[in-house]
Point group: C2
Chain length 240, copies 2
DNA sequence: CAGTGGTCTAGACCACGTA
DNA sequence: ACGTGGTCTAGACCACTGT
């Protein structure tokens, strides 16, 4: 790290990548603090400013959280963060809240072509599939199907109950931390499954959110299709 | 700017705000370059690093564009930028392209309650309204209604033709530059207007995108409702 | 070549949180 | 009082662009 290293990426990128590797290996647990900027700078043989730029980048991606006077921490998956960062549905009026869930079914099977394509898996791969309905207060707002590569989540279907906050669950149980999602939205007509789960009529317009969630190594680890009733909710997206 | 200024915001924020004021006043036209970092630093009596941090912030917001070896430029509204920054609809397969438009109607009237609320206008305000259909190649993909505060766009409806790229139009004709948008999405059922414009059936599910566009002073300047056929297109949203 | 933004360093001081 | 991150400065060198 103290060589001139002609032609390589900038130092602060190398530092960021090194920190990312350590985080991916679980060197520091979510909620704990990293060494100070000065400490990391000494250890890596670079200036504090270079470490700072690397840490700022990771904080911008919500992988780290900076707290003035306290230190730099590994981000956790509390409901407030999930609601802020990943959950984009808002009630048209009234209070925002973390949606509750009721699991309808859980299976482990050979994945469909769609699931394999989304998750980048081979023909033989098993998939863990969870179907659930989510509620805003007492009102059902969406039905969703989660698809996970069974190989990454050993023992998933031996777990008694799937918690409501699954990203926290992935992190605490398997050390898999979601850092990015890519979503594709379409309007579709409700089918009989939607009618049963949501109480709408067949043919009613639903917002389909197709989400691929990536871990810290940008590896796809969850594929999710949410069918949302948007009579009293909307999906918010701010562009800057 | 050389005073200690206890209790005020950080220097680089003050510099950013001063640059924003100058940009809002049209001190530099889109496409032209600002003075160099050193020049601005000398003029404002701060260090180059402080100016750099201010410029980096404006570049992150796509208000400025940095070009190594050339300078810092005021962002323009070429189609490629609009497509990249503001247009979130992608074809499910095939090539991406800037959608073409056919204007269906143009009026200037008293705004509806919905429009007034969205744009923050009073009861007496006039609204310019444009309805158009947009195409991906030859395929109609959406019908949309643009609503503008007539007071901000004098002479709008005397213009012969509304160009396809309206954000460029707003910028060149009235100096109003869109920098941010907030969108709310819902799934709705097509009505007879949609059937006529898009050739779908009444009741077909459509993606409604309700967009509020803000200028550099975060003042709302355009309200837009787009009804999109998502049989061969989807809305993309990446979260990080 | 000169001029621009991009990286890197070193050091000072401030604001905040904890003890 | 101390340690943390946040701001600000000054100066060096690199990478890129145009003449």
């Amino acid at each position: 790290m103290s060589e001139p290293a002609i032609g390589l990426s900038p130092l602060y990128i190398q530092v960021r990548d090194e920190l990312t590797r350590r985080l991916a290996k679980g060197r520091w647990r979510p909620g704990t603090s990293l060494p100070s900027e000065q400490g990391l700078a000494r250890e890596m043989g670079v200036s504090q400013g270079t470490v700072r730029k690397a840490l700022d980048g990771l904080a911008a991606d919500h992988i780290l959280v900076r707290k003035q006077g306290r230190g730099t921490f590994v981000a956790e998956f509390e409901e407030s963060r999930i609601l802020f960062q990943f959950f984009r549905l808002w009630p048209d009026s009234g209070e925002r809240m973390f949606p509750t869930s009721k699991v309808l079914s859980r299976t482990t099977e050979k994945g469909s072509a769609r699931e394999r394509a989304a998750l980048g898996l081979g023909l033989l791969s098993k998939i863990v599939r969870v179907e659930r309905v989510r509620y805003h207060g007492r009102v059902p707002i969406l039905r969703e199907i989660l698809s996970l590569p069974a190989g990454l989540f050993p023992g998933f279907n031996e777990v008694r109950q799937v918690p409501n906050n699954v990203y926290q669950f992935y992190s605490e149980r398997w050390g898999i931390r979601i850092t990015k999602t890519k979503e594709k939205l379409k309007a579709v007509a409700a089918d009989t499954n939607d009618r049963r789960a949501l109480g709408c009529a067949v043919g009613d317009p639903l917002l389909l959110i197709e989400r691929l969630a990536l871990d810290i190594n940008t590896r796809p680890v969850e594929y999710r299709r949410s069918f949302c009733l948007t009579t009293h909710m909307h999906y918010a997206s701010d562009v800057t």
